[in-house]
Subunit: 178 residues, 2 copies
DNA sequence: CATCCATGCGTACACTCGTACACATGGGAT
DNA sequence: ATCCCATGTGTACGAGTGTACGCATGGATG
């Protein structure tokens, strides 16, 4: 049966899960679909992740880390900030401009936490990480507010299908910063 | 087979769908579950709603109308506003305080639109209605921003499981109002 | 009163799903 | 060199799903 030695299998399954969610949404995620996408037998996915929630947690966590990495790598938020609102608005623009699967995936996982308690800690972690990142340039309360506002704006863009107005976003974000 | 004359059946199915989504989430919604909840045979649900999306649209629309009605009935936003931010913060408090199934349902349906294009117009409608309601007391751009911020704050509360801080919400909302 | 079709009802089919289980295999500990 | 168990594989089962279809019924229409 040609068993293969595959030490990275667990990781590959997570990657496959992210791709599946990106393409078909969480509703399309199953042990079987992810197994097919990762090119592993069904039993393998159930072995590494007893339950789908477990797999989702891993996927959400990894997506978060990826986002954080992108954010950090974008270099912004270094040194003294002169235009925090503009910086954030620019990020959102980049994020929303590219392949939207990334954004949609992030929010899909994020919001799935509403119904799946298992995901909630990870989702909360994401918001907190972002807030604490912003906290280096404003007070914590404002940071949280900025996260909330960014979430709301992104959702509006995604849901209404409208286009993203960076100038508008910057203007509004600026109002929140005292 | 005791066929019953039931002119309100369609409506009762929608109500049942809302209850089902409120209890088990969208994932738990199926022709069968809603049929059981509405106490009608399976064939009846498939007759009135050929597809689940169709049923979801009806449910989402009705939920929206219900919310709008509650909003309007709450009496606020009449006459000259002296403290719009406080008014809104108060609403959110009431909304989040009661049985959270209502809020969760609203967001669950709202966010399902991310993946189901059929729902998107209805979700967008909700945001627009609320925004246009607010537009009577501020400019449209601010109104949209307020909606976004309220969404973001609600999500943060729901996801982090934390408690709602009305004073905080009011303070932040006030900043957005020019 | 006749009849028609929107509505109601039951059932069957093909499919996917989660889960469980028995067995294979070989890297690494001993 | 040997053995063990973490890992990999295949298959089966029961539950739940969307959908389709044939038939029943009785308000509405003429």
């Amino acid at each position: 049966m040609a068993r293969r030695y595959d030490p990275e299998r667990r990781q590959r399954i997570i990657d496959a899960a992210i791709r599946v969610v990106g393409e078909k949404g969480i509703a399309g995620l199953s042990h079987r679909t992810v197994a097919a996408e990762a090119d592993v037998p069904l039993g393998s996915t159930t072995y590494h992740f007893k339950t789908l929630d477990e797999l989702l947690v891993a996927a959400l966590r990894q997506a978060n880390e990826g986002f954080a990495k992108v954010l950090a790598a974008s270099g912004g938020l270094e040194g003294p900030q002169t235009d925090l609102a503009g910086e954030l608005a620019g990020w959102m623009g980049e994020w929303l401009a590219g392949d939207r699967t990334g954004v949609e995936l992030e929010y899909e996982l994020y919001l799935a936490a509403l119904r799946r308690p298992a995901l909630r800690p990870v989702a909360a972690e994401w918001a907190e990480d972002l807030a604490s990142l912003l906290s280096r340039h404003t007070d914590p309360a404002t940071a949280r507010a900025l996260v909330a506002l960014m979430d709301g704006i992104c959702l509006q863009v995604l849901l209404t299908g409208g286009s993203y107005d960076e100038g508008y976003a910057r203007e509004i974000l600026a109002r929140v910063i005292p």
